[in-house]
């Protein structure tokens, strides 16, 4: 990956910050054979701005987002645009979305938003749309086709018929481990739209899909899951270089399924346990993923971090920078045809904090 930009280049403007490793954002670089076409974008996700009452919001989550925004503004080179990966709010309320939007407004640069379930299930995205635009759409930037999906829809029966109030519907979906929840899906309408949208895209054009849920099936009980993942993957299959970047899981995950690379980004609010730590169930964390270190509850921002991705030739080369932990590099290994951690991939190279139980 000869066009890889070093972490230092990205942070020239950030020299004044003491804790560089704590940047809870993702910076993504797309590198092309013609390096004049290279560009970067930043990725912030899962802020979960939570209203207490009146003008009070949960300080911990506010701090995470404020920090991510401040540090994104310091990036050099300046990213072409910024993605927000969903779950800006905790319970989808106007005060939460407004407060989140206000913090986000300090960003210099164009911001695209992905819908999270915490944004959606109070008013089905109505107010969110007023603030941030359509729930799904696509755009082209310097030769890359970007697709933004609302992947947190579910069965109509659940959405429209099950709950006496919108507030209750929101609360039921907000509980990650709530058995009354319902599996996420992209849905037929959006899949038809996607199919049409992709018809005009050349098979060699790199495609980057932004979704909130994984577009792969990991663990249904916590909605680390998209019910119609297989159907969406099938639509993406004809293209040479496809990457899906998702939020929701609040942890490092990576996977390769056929031509599609999957990468999760971390949250600015809090980290989540890996599903394997719930001993009563089976789950399917991609075997490939070497987990991030267990979070230290005594450091509020621990287990948030940032990463940049280099997509030259369609292979993914990703660097995670973790607060209070050593950085991680996950690079495509042409011999095995999958992303691998540069340091920790072999089983005998793992360190004790990576063991989740």
């Amino acid at each position: 990956m000869n066009t890889r930009i070093s972490r230092r280049d990205f942070l020239k403007g950030a020299g004044a910050l003491a804790a560089i490793g704590a940047l809870p954002i993702s910076l993504v670089e797309l590198a092309f054979a013609d390096s004049a076409e290279n560009f970067t974008f930043a990725y912030i996700s899962d802020a979960h701005i939570q209203h207490i009452k009146g003008t009070e919001f949960v300080r911990n989550w506010d701090r995470g987002l404020i920090r991510a925004v401040a540090e994104t503004n310091l990036l050099t080179p300046k990213p072409d645009f910024i993605m927000f990966g969903g779950d800006l709010a905790q319970l989808g309320s106007k005060p939460e979305l407004d407060h989140g939007a206000e913090i986000m407004s300090a960003l210099s640069g164009k911001v695209y938003y992905v819908m999270g379930e915490h944004d959606y299930y109070l008013d089905l995205g109505q107010y969110w749309e007023q603030l941030f635009g359509p729930q799904y759409h696509s755009f082209d930037h310097k030769g890359v086709h970007f697709v933004v999906l609302n992947s947190v829809l579910t069965y109509d029966d659940w959405t429209y018929k099950r709950w006496p109030t919108a507030e209750q519907r929101m609360l039921e979906m907000a509980g990650l481990d709530n058995p009354n929840g319902s599996p996420f899906m992209v849905g037929e309408k959006q899949r038809q739209w996607l199919q049409v949208d992709l018809q005009k895209v050349g098979k060699d054009t790199p495609i980057v899909v932004f979704s909130h849920s994984p577009i792969q099936k990991i663990y249904k009980g916590w909605n680390f899951w998209t019910e119609d993942a297989d159907e969406v993957q099938a639509l993406l299959k004809p293209f040479k270089k496809v990457t899906v970047i998702y939020g929701h899981v609040h942890q490092i995950q990576y996977n390769q399924i056929g031509n599609i690379s999957f990468h999760a980004v971390m949250a600015t609010a809090w980290p989540w346990p890996y599903p394997a730590t719930y001993s009563q169930v089976e789950q399917h964390l991609p075997k490939l993923t070497v987990p991030m270190n267990r979070a230290d509850p005594f450091f509020e921002r621990d287990a948030t971090g940032w990463q940049f991705i280099n997509l030259a030739t369609g292979n993914v080369d990703m660097r995670y920078n973790l607060y209070n932990n050593s950085s991680r590099t996950v690079a495509f290994n042409p011999k095995t045809g999958q992303p691998e951690d540069a340091m920790y991939q072999p089983a005998d190279q793992r360190i004790p904090p990576q063991i989740h139980f």
Binding site: N60, G175, W272, Y278, D296
Partner: protein, 136 residues
């Protein structure tokens, strides 16, 4: 069983032992007893789950937000050395840590019925996992 009930039982047991009467041994219990005890326990588990999904502090943050299904609470590892507290701690100490910090609340007494309910829930979600005191 209250201590008063216990006292009443003792003479019966002694007599049963002397006369060889069947089925009144103190250490014998029936399916019905088991059912009742389980019911009592599960009721407290349910209270614990309820506490888990509702704010225990002042900032509306619940334990379930960071610990779905009580994952990452590791009750089987306690007591264990908690480097940040500098001592071998009970799980109640860590429950109180999380109540004070992420939830911005007041710690519970270790024998508070809420503390008992939380532990019943945490342990129930972890049933079947071997004991591993001290493990990190």
């Amino acid at each position: 069983m209250s201590s008063r009930q216990l006292k009443r039982l003792i003479p019966v047991v002694v007599m049963a032992g002397l006369t060889g009467a069947p089925s009144v041994q103190a250490d014998e219990f029936t399916q019905e007893d088991l059912k009742r005890w389980e019911g009592q326990f599960m009721e407290v588990v349910k209270q614990g789950r309820d506490l888990w999904t509702h704010p225990l502090g002042t900032n509306s943050v619940s334990c379930a937000q960071c610990h779905p299904n009580a994952a990452n609470t590791h009750p089987e590892t306690y007591p264990k050395f908690q480097k940040q507290l500098g001592k071998v701690a009970l799980i109640g100490d860590m429950i109180n840590w999380c109540i004070r910090n992420p939830a911005e609340g007041q710690p519970l007494a270790l024998d508070d019925p809420k503390m008992i309910a939380i532990q019943a829930y945490i342990n129930y979600e972890r049933r079947g996992v071997p004991m591993a005191p001290g493990k990190h």
